[in-house]
Point group: C2
Chain length 475, copies 2
């Protein structure tokens, strides 16, 4: 007889966690999770490996059933062949959930391995516990200190991320953390044997800790269920979806990756449009759109952008990039341009929008320009670009000094407060160590001030166009 299954909320806040397959050499997924849990201060961690009695100063147990304390969640990285006997131990121990990092199941294309998965699910149902994966990196819940990495901020935040790919489940927080993104839960579900995208989407829809839902999906098995879950989710919260496997080769890769049969791109796009989910084309764009939703708020009323920065060639590029991405760069009137000449030089400047002047790399010139331009009715947002031109290049630490950063971010936030028009930062990442130091410090300063940071004009424009279009359909 099947037992009552635990709710996802219980699974996301386990009392004890066992990590099966740890090793004292420091390598491997299980050991990494164990160290991450310890670094985050998770209280009851039980390393399991019959070959050791101690790993990294922690007692190591020969089996799950040998653990003295309560184990709610089990992280597994052992060969697929040993999965069934481990699940018997899970049932005996009375766990609530088992996460298999282990791969080599249905995604291998081997019939016996697909059947093995089915048997695993039967055992889980009979034992009254849930399975996450297999073939994934599992749960990352900062609030519960249930984490699987040490390299991203574990401060909890409002973004919930569902990912069929373990790589992306790791990469989104990696890419987003320095830009201020913080997560409620990141769930990598891999082959989705038990817990799948529909159940997770439903969960995040009602989760009070999640304000923005992000999902990386290669394919769905239950189309009807997914449509229902997506409809409910998108009606309540912004849902950002990246669909992997949109080309023939991508579909093949997705099938080999998580045994997914991906649906047609056109059908998926139509679905997102109908439900008003925000579809993105890659993981970088997902970070951009989430950053726009979080920090370029309120969502601009229109697509009119003022582009401000130093460098003529880059300004030409800026205009082209933003208009191609779907924004407008409306010309400023002669009157507004004359106003700008009070604090910007004539020689070497472009004032019609984009606005380019050599001194647009000083807080005073930036503040005056932002103030003047934000009063123009056709302008809905202000884009300041930095790091494209020798005059504004990283170097010398100028942009990371408090004398630059503090008045600049204050001016940017004042514009947003006064006019309701967000200011966007576009910082081109440099590819050398000295400038990277300055870049990281500047990014940190802007992010701490609550400003959205993008790495290219194209990416800023593309994300803002998506968010503005989403807001319009929602209204």
């Amino acid at each position: 007889m099947n037992k009552k299954l635990p709710a996802l909320d219980e699974i996301f806040s386990p009392r004890g966690v066992a990590v099966v397959g740890v090793s004292p050499n420091g390598r491997g997924f299980a050991t990494g999770v164990m160290m991450s849990l310890r670094a985050a201060g998770f209280p009851d961690i039980y390393p399991i490996n019959p070959r050791y009695t101690e790993v990294f100063g922690m007692p190591c147990y020969p089996s799950l059933t040998a653990v003295p304390g309560v184990v709610d969640h089990v992280v597994v990285s052992i060969p697929a062949e040993s999965a069934l006997s481990l699940l018997d131990d899970c049932a005996a121990k009375g766990v609530k959930s088992v996460h298999f990092f282990t791969a080599g199941f249905s995604e291998s294309g081997i019939k016996e391995r697909a059947e093995l998965e089915k048997t695993m699910l039967e055992k889980a149902r009979a034992g009254g516990f849930r399975i996450i994966g297999p073939n994934c990196i599992g749960l990352h819940v900062p609030k519960s200190k249930l984490v699987n990495t040490t390299t991203v901020s574990i401060e909890p935040g409002p973004v919930g991320f569902i990912s069929q790919s373990g790589g992306h489940a790791s990469n989104l927080p990696q890419y987003g953390s320095p830009r201020g993104l913080r997560f409620s839960k990141v769930v990598s579900y891999g082959n989705g044997l038990d817990i799948d995208e529909c159940e997770l989407l439903d969960y995040f829809t009602d989760d009070p800790d999640t304000e923005i839902i992000a999902a990386y999906i290669e394919g769905v098995r239950n189309g009807r269920g997914f449509i229902d879950a997506l409809r409910k989710a998108a009606a309540k919260k912004p849902v950002v979806i990246y669909k992997g496997g949109t080309t023939e080769a991508g579909k093949r890769a997705a099938h080999g990756h998580t045994a997914s049969l991906t649906s047609s791109v056109a059908a998926f796009e139509a679905l997102c449009r109908q439900m008003n989910a925000i579809r993105v084309d890659d993981l970088d764009e997902m970070v951009d759109v989430i950053a726009a939703l979080r920090f370029a708020s309120p969502v601009p009323k229109g697509t009119g952008a003022a582009v401000i920065g130093a460098g003529g060639g880059p300004s030409v590029l800026a205009s082209d990039e933003l208009e191609k991405a779907g924004l407008q760069v409306p010309p400023l009137s002669g009157e507004t341009q004359n106003g700008l000449l009070k604090f910007l030089p004539l020689a070497g400047s472009i004032l019609i929008n984009p606005i380019d002047a050599g001194n647009l790399a000083t807080p005073d010139a930036i503040r005056e320009t932002l103030n003047a331009v934000s009063r123009v009715p056709e302008i809905d947002m202000l884009v300041y670009h930095l790091g494209f031109h020798p005059i504004s290049s990283w170097g010398g630490g100028r942009f990371v000094m408090p004398e630059f950063l503090n008045p600049t971010t204050q001016a940017m936030n004042a514009v947003k407060k006064t006019t309701g028009k967000p200011v966007l930062l576009v910082l081109r990442p440099p590819l050398n160590l000295d400038d990277m130091k300055d870049f990281l410090a500047a990014q940190d300063g802007f992010v701490k001030a609550g400003l959205p940071v993008f790495y290219s004009l194209h990416q800023a424009g593309r994300a803002m166009a998506r968010v503005i279009s989403w807001e319009k359909r929602r209204a």
Copy 2:
């Protein structure tokens, strides 16, 4: 009566250079050029400023006519109002060329300033010398040690770059230098008052030091002349063109930037197609295409790419990105896949192409895989991606150790030598200091081995598709 004008070749190898407008505080364009010339070992540099007798330990002269030695080339950064009297001095001194960094001429939109430009040209014609600019960063000729920056390699190389924008003239070498691009001449021509894109294109067509011609152009004044020059150039050498000002806002910016009246995008695209010039959409793509022409040679016979690396989600992304960019990712036969299983693990691997396996971050696995896959007739090039996935992330210095880099680059070059199929590296730049150190060392290792490095799958695919299509039309 007008004197005979000096040829461009003379201008690119001047004997003495005067730099007008230097300052002992170390700031400003003129001072930067002076320091760059000195750092490069240019022999006869004459700083000019009536306010000083010495700058940075070099004698400083009150005027051009006070210089004791020969002056062939003059670099000018003084207010536009002083331009005419300076040109009188140039005539008196018998110089060959004058480069005006100074801006605030026709591009300002002020009628008197446009007329000033005309008078300047008359003075130059009468004095028998040429003008570069105004409103540009001038000449960068490594072979002559006539350089304007200290931050890029000054080793001469086969790329000639013509740029209407000073920012781009600075940025292309900056971006391209770490990826192995070396330059014959970089000429920033700004408003193109005298020396313009047509004359430069003609020059590079016949320049024995230039094998690849790159051009950033906002607008051309002599359409017929440009068409003729482009036809001759593209018939002889690969010409990579980035046209700025392709949207309304971009055109406005271009006009304010270099007083250019840009032509229609469609007409420009058609022209590039007819002439078989390689059109690119931004400066990053220009670097990518030049890197492909230089280091992914011979140009692949077809668009079939094998994608090799670690990470399932990234592999799905890889396929989507490359196919969207215009390449094919053909599936491998069962036989080839079985062959791969001799050295790749079953669990967690995708073998059909893309090829993803956890151990594809070791030289042995990479070599075996490259060898096996390069024998497949449908595969025309091999793309190895690194730095997308936790397992292959930068960190720990693994990828920068000689034990990794040397056998890996040897295997890659052996594949190219044996099969004529190039191997491309895709390295995702990390955004933290520790990983950036590893990234730069790995990039350096691959570049020194003569391999093309790209920063994203999309960029690699886009550049290769452009180059393959160019080669097909050429053949």
